[in-house]
């Protein structure tokens, strides 16, 4: 897993690439935890470069979502750009009902901008 972080209108966009599987779960958890660093943090995960996510990766995303919800003052955490296989794993685990998923990064940025 590789990543790049850019900031757009105060929104941290984390571009991930490569499979998000059990061998990457710890690094992913630390990476996302570091971005959700306080009240008002707005974090968007770009999944367009992620070909595969497994149960461990799903777990990290659910954890990050809850961490953002638990930050005093409220932080925002969303995901965007999931391909067919990744979206299907979210759907099969029904975590798509909890997580904020957007079709594209621009859609996600717009949603987080409006929410600020």
């Amino acid at each position: 897993m590789d990543h790049e972080i850019e900031t757009q209108d105060g929104i941290k966009i984390v571009h991930l690439s490569g499979p998000l599987d059990v061998s990457q779960a710890l690094a992913l958890r630390e990476l996302l935890g570091a971005q959700i660093d306080g009240p008002g943090a707005r974090v968007l995960i770009d999944l367009s470069g992620v070909p595969l996510i497994d149960s461990s990766g799903i777990g990290v995303m659910v954890s990050a979502h809850r961490r953002a919800d638990g930050v005093g003052g409220g932080a925002a955490f969303a995901l965007a750009g999931a391909g067919a296989t990744v979206a299907r794993v979210f759907a099969l685990t029904r975590t798509d009902r909890l997580l904020r998923l957007y079709d594209s990064v621009p859609d996600g940025v717009e949603a987080l901008r409006v929410a600020s």
Binding site: P19, D21, V22, S23, P51, L52, I53, D54, S55, S56, I58, G59, V60, V62, S63, A84, T85, R88, V89, L92, T93, R94, T95, R97, L98, L99
Partner: protein
Amino acid sequence: MHDTLVLPTQLTAIDDARRWTSDHAHGAQFDPTAIAEVEVAMTEALSNVIVHSYDEQPGEQLLLSLDIDDDRLALGIRDRGRPFDPAQYRAPDLDEPAEGGYGVHLIEALMDEVTRRPLADGGTLVLLVRYRSNDGRDRS
């Protein structure tokens, strides 16, 4: 086609197994969507074995077999670790999103057949089958 792969009991080796399977499946003109879903299922199956049967202890080996014909793809995973105990398995509550525990659920949802049987040598064979006729578009 038929091929085998010896894989060390290390989570970082799962990527090698995925690439091996994907290369053969693409070469056999298996549906790309189905291949991607097989990769997810095999990732879960291998991580289950490495984590739960071997406690992530390196130095042991898994034997993978891959058979692809006109009808199906069949991936076999042989291990000699601690056997899976169905009595210990708890299916996830899909109404309560969790931070893990979806592995077996995903394997069964993404594959057409999943069998697990003990071997005479004390090991276990997990067989994952996906049919060509199921290209992923009609599955819920």
